[in-house]
């Protein structure tokens, strides 16, 4: 059967279903764009899938599963993009402020931090594992609430993970620079 015509038939039949699934994940403004993307995704899936496997499906179930998986993967991609953006912390003074818990009033003190301590903090962060680093980024740079971090990372008690990550960071910084003592805030970044 002509796959293009088959897809057209399926899209006509399940337009409402597709739009309702999309609305669960995306705002109405994007629903038309996502609908187009979903159509392409469905076309690929029907083309790639072996006919023997498709025989187990009804069109409604197949469409619902493909659309839901597509929406979930798209939302994950969007979240990971946010995370990647936060990792780009060059010239980000917030990192210093968050980790050291200090606000600078004296410009000289600021300069001192920039020249000497910032490198240590970056080094320390780079030595953390990905998960710990993400918790610190989400909490102290994106300034997400604990509940939001729970959602993003898929855990129920992100505060515990954040505490652990901060302790590890403290330890690493202590090892890097024994002469200075750092006080890391582990409360609300606000």
């Amino acid at each position: 059967m002509n796959r293009e015509l088959l897809l057209k038939e399926i899209l006509h039949r399940h337009k409402r279903l597709i739009k309702s699934v999309i609305r669960q994940y995306f705002k109405d403004d994007f629903s038309d764009d996502v609908y187009q993307e979903v159509s392409i995704s469905l076309f690929k899936k029907i083309g790639e899938e072996k006919e023997a496997l498709l025989e187990r499906w009804t069109t409604g179930n197949f469409v619902a599963v493909v659309v839901r998986n597509f929406c979930i993967s798209e939302t994950r991609k969007a979240k990971s993009k946010n995370r990647i953006q936060t990792k780009n912390f060059e010239d980000d003074d917030a990192l210093i402020r968050a980790v050291h818990g200090s606000t600078f009033t004296d410009p000289e003190e600021m300069d001192y931090f920039h020249t000497s301590k910032k490198i240590n903090v970056f080094e320390a962060l780079s030595q953390l594992n990905d998960k710990d680093r993400e918790f610190i980024m989400l909490r102290y740079f994106q300034k997400n609430s604990i509940a939001e971090i729970n959602d993003i990372m898929g855990v129920t008690n992100s505060s515990v993970y954040i505490d652990r990550a901060v302790k590890k960071l403290k330890k690493i910084i202590g090892d890097l620079d024994d002469n200075d003592s750092y006080e890391i805030i582990d409360g609300d970044p606000e």
Partner: protein, 208 residues
């Protein structure tokens, strides 16, 4: 006195698969028939003067693509075609909901013979349509050509089988052909002369 009917036999091309075949069919063969296209929605790139788009005929904003919503407009359309054309041929894919809707609109006229107990000089008969099924239409003098293809999905297969059964009950004759057939022009050329011979002599087309 001219006939009330159009003298040409009509072909009703139903759905997207039929439209694709319509485009591929020889124009001189098509000219021997009165062609109508029944489609769900208009493609922006194509415009057919003899096409009816169900989506645009509906008084509602957008007609849903399901059997219940399309029943009424399809029935109206079929009645209109039937009133102005000679009996003809329906062509479409049994996997398309639009084709299924057309076949569902057909019914077998029930002939009720009154006073069966007492033999009479004449028998009073009348054809009746079951109650609450006013959308049904008598297509018993129409033939249908189903465009068969391999469809992977369970529900499409099931629906197609039901459509075949309904068509066998309610229409005059049911033929099948492959959706990618290349000799439809040849078939239609012969079909004009003799229906049965056309089926027997054309490769790839058979009675169901």
């Amino acid at each position: 006195m001219s006939s009330y009917y159009n003298q040409k036999e009509h072909i009703l091309w139903i759905g997207e698969h039929a439209k694709a075949l319509f485009k591929a069919t020889n124009q001189s063969v098509l000219n021997k028939y009165e062609n109508h296209l029944l489609l769900y929605e208009q493609d922006t790139n194509e415009l057919y003067t003899n096409a009816t788009y169900l989506n645009s005929t509906s008084s509602e904003d957008e007609l849903d693509y399901d059997l219940n919503s399309m029943k009424e407009p399809v029935s109206k359309y079929l009645k209109k075609i039937k009133a102005h054309s000679k009996p003809g041929l329906l062509i479409g894919s049994p996997f398309e909901l639009l084709m299924q809707c057309v076949i569902d609109s057909a019914h077998v006229p029930q002939v009720n013979v009154l006073n069966e107990s007492a033999p009479m000089l004449f028998e009073k008969v009348h054809r009746s349509i079951p109650k609450n099924r006013h959308h049904l239409i008598d297509l018993s003098n129409q033939n249908v050509l189903f465009l068969k293809s391999d469809v992977p999905f369970l529900d499409l297969k099931r629906e197609a089988l039901e459509t075949f059964k309904n068509a066998q009950q309610c229409l005059s004759s049911t033929m099948t052909a492959d959706v990618n057939m290349t000799n439809l022009s040849e078939f239609l050329f012969r079909y004009q002369e003799n229906h049965d011979d056309a089926v027997n002599e054309t490769e790839g087309i058979a009675f169901l």
